[in-house]
């Protein structure tokens, strides 16, 4: 990876206000996920294992993350790539010896790192809200960590797709429209059979949910279909790498 390209992309993230956007979204997601923890009706359930307070909180996080993450990723990818479309950045980078594919890989690295960090902070803050509210039931650390890890991975894959789309189509409407419809798909995939969720990358926000409905109607731990998820996610990473190589070989910019 070209260090100069990464350093330049880091500077562009400042211009695109990536960190403030993510920080505000993380706070919003945490607030929305944990809003009902502090309600009077929930207070009695915080020390009752049968009320599953941690599971309820994690499920709220799953729903809110599925609703917001696709749009946030689309916004970040779109802003980071639009700089090149608006300011002849592809040509400028090419003159400096950086192909469009290299630029896209650097963007993926920088945005991916920031996004992953944001997911980790967000997940920790949601758990922190539970502790702050006074949940006394044992914390399901393994389930929480697995969900956080898979959420970060799905975010990365969707980021790769949106970076490719934003590079190919200079009209940001397309990327954000796809992000919006993707968010819609992600939310409704939570209510659909697993194969529907696995069919499109945005549905994976639902497919990674570690919770489902148990036989008694309560929440039960489920194992996401990692056997399908991992190859699928790996394939998108390979396709992104191939697309970047093609960008580098193209005579003009990627769009």
């Amino acid at each position: 990876m070209n260090r100069t390209a990464v350093a330049v992309e880091l500077r562009k993230t400042r211009r695109a206000r990536v960190v403030p956007v993510l920080a505000v979204m993380v706070i919003a997601v945490v607030a929305l996920s944990s809003a009902n923890l502090f309600s009077d009706s929930m207070r009695a359930d915080l020390s009752d294992p049968s009320a599953q307070p941690w599971e309820q909180l994690l499920l709220n996080h799953v729903v809110v993350a599925a609703m917001t993450s696709p749009v946030v990723v689309a916004v970040l990818a779109s802003r980071q790539v639009d700089i090149e479309h608006q300011g002849q950045g592809w040509t400028l980078a090419r003159v400096c010896g950086l192909g469009p594919g290299q630029l896209c890989r650097a963007k993926a690295l920088v945005l991916g790192a920031v996004l992953t960090l944001a997911v980790a902070v967000q997940s920790a803050l949601v758990a922190g809200a539970g502790l702050l509210a006074g949940v006394e039931v044992a914390f399901p650390a393994g389930m929480w960590a697995r969900y956080t890890l898979t959420l970060a991975l799905v975010n990365l894959v969707v980021l790769f797709l949106h970076l490719w789309l934003a590079a190919r189509v200079d009209n940001q409407f397309v990327g954000l429209g796809v992000g919006l419809l993707g968010a819609f798909y992600a939310v409704f995939a939570l209510l659909m059979p697993a194969w529907v969720a696995l069919a499109l990358p945005w549905g994976h926000y639902a497919a990674i949910s570690p919770l489902g409905t148990g036989p008694d109607g309560g929440l039960a731990a489920v194992t996401p279909a990692y056997g399908v998820l991992v190859p699928y996610l790996s394939a998108v990473v390979v396709l992104f790498a191939v697309a970047c190589r093609r960008f580098d070989r193209a005579e003009e910019g990627p769009a």
Binding site: M25, L32, L181
Partner: protein
């Protein structure tokens, strides 16, 4: 002016979102209703409640955010600002025409939603009769309630050259609106946050949302009054900004 704005939007891909969003909404609502028939009571009301659940909470307002960015995008391109501002048209009329054109697009979305609910409910889910008039009233009221969101997103998209930034701010508004409603902080606050107003309107008489108000003249009147006041305030602010600031 409004006609001119609609002509500008004629070849825009914005109509695709205006069509696909209601189609997805009704499809997902129908699948959810069909999959949970044992738990839901039968009829048009539970079906409608499933259809508008997430649409009211997030996706209608987010759709408006994307549509507003798309509508203002063309003015940020090339020398369109110079052309637009050198016409003998008042800034209030320019902004008003944009808001009205976007409101017509939202009305189109709601019409598609209603027609699809009727067709899918009758032919696919086998519901009896036709959807009750209350659902048409709620769909129509949602257009009025969405006008402040249109005005706010229009103001943001007019002021910010970036396409994505107003959409990100719109998402934040949706989260704030959902927080206001789910946190039980209804009342005045739910009528001041534009996105919460859209949710309040679409959730009138909703059987799937706890504490949703019923469709009565009082609730409708409050929503219409709040929507009118918010839209007028944001429209006036937009006109002042357009008159005093140089847009690029």
């Amino acid at each position: 002016m409004i006609l001119a704005e609609l002509v500008k939007l004629r070849r825009s891909a914005l109509w695709l979102v205006a069509l696909v969003l209601p189609v997805l909404t009704v499809t997902a609502g129908a699948l959810n209703y069909a999959g949970n028939r044992s738990m839901l009571s039968s009829g048009w009301a539970p079906f409608w409640s499933q259809v508008v659940l997430f649409y009211g909470l997030l996706f209608l307002s987010m759709g408006v955010a994307v549509l507003a960015s798309a509508a203002w995008r063309m003015e940020h391109r090339g020398h369109n600002w110079n052309l637009l501002m050198s016409t003998p048209i008042r800034p209030a009329a320019i902004v008003g025409a944009k808001i009205a054109a976007l409101a017509l697009v939202v009305a189109f979305m709601q019409l598609v939603l209603l027609v699809l609910v009727a067709v899918v409910g009758r032919l696919v889910l086998g519901l009896e009769g036709m959807p009750p008039w209350e659902q048409a009233a709620v769909a129509g009221l949602a257009v009025v309630a969405a006008t402040p969101v249109i005005a706010v997103q229009s103001l943001l998209s007019m002021s910010i050259r970036s396409f994505a930034a107003p959409v990100a701010l719109g998402l934040l508004g949706c989260v704030a609106g959902a927080g206001v409603l789910l946190g039980g902080g209804g009342g005045v606050l739910s009528h001041l946050v534009p996105q919460a107003l859209v949710s309040s309107a679409l959730f009138l008489g909703n059987t799937a949302v706890a504490d949703s108000a019923s469709l009565d003249p009082g609730a409708v009147g409050t929503i219409v009054a709040a929507a009118g006041a918010l839209t007028a305030a944001v429209w006036a602010l937009s006109a002042v900004l357009l008159a005093r600031r140089e847009m690029r």
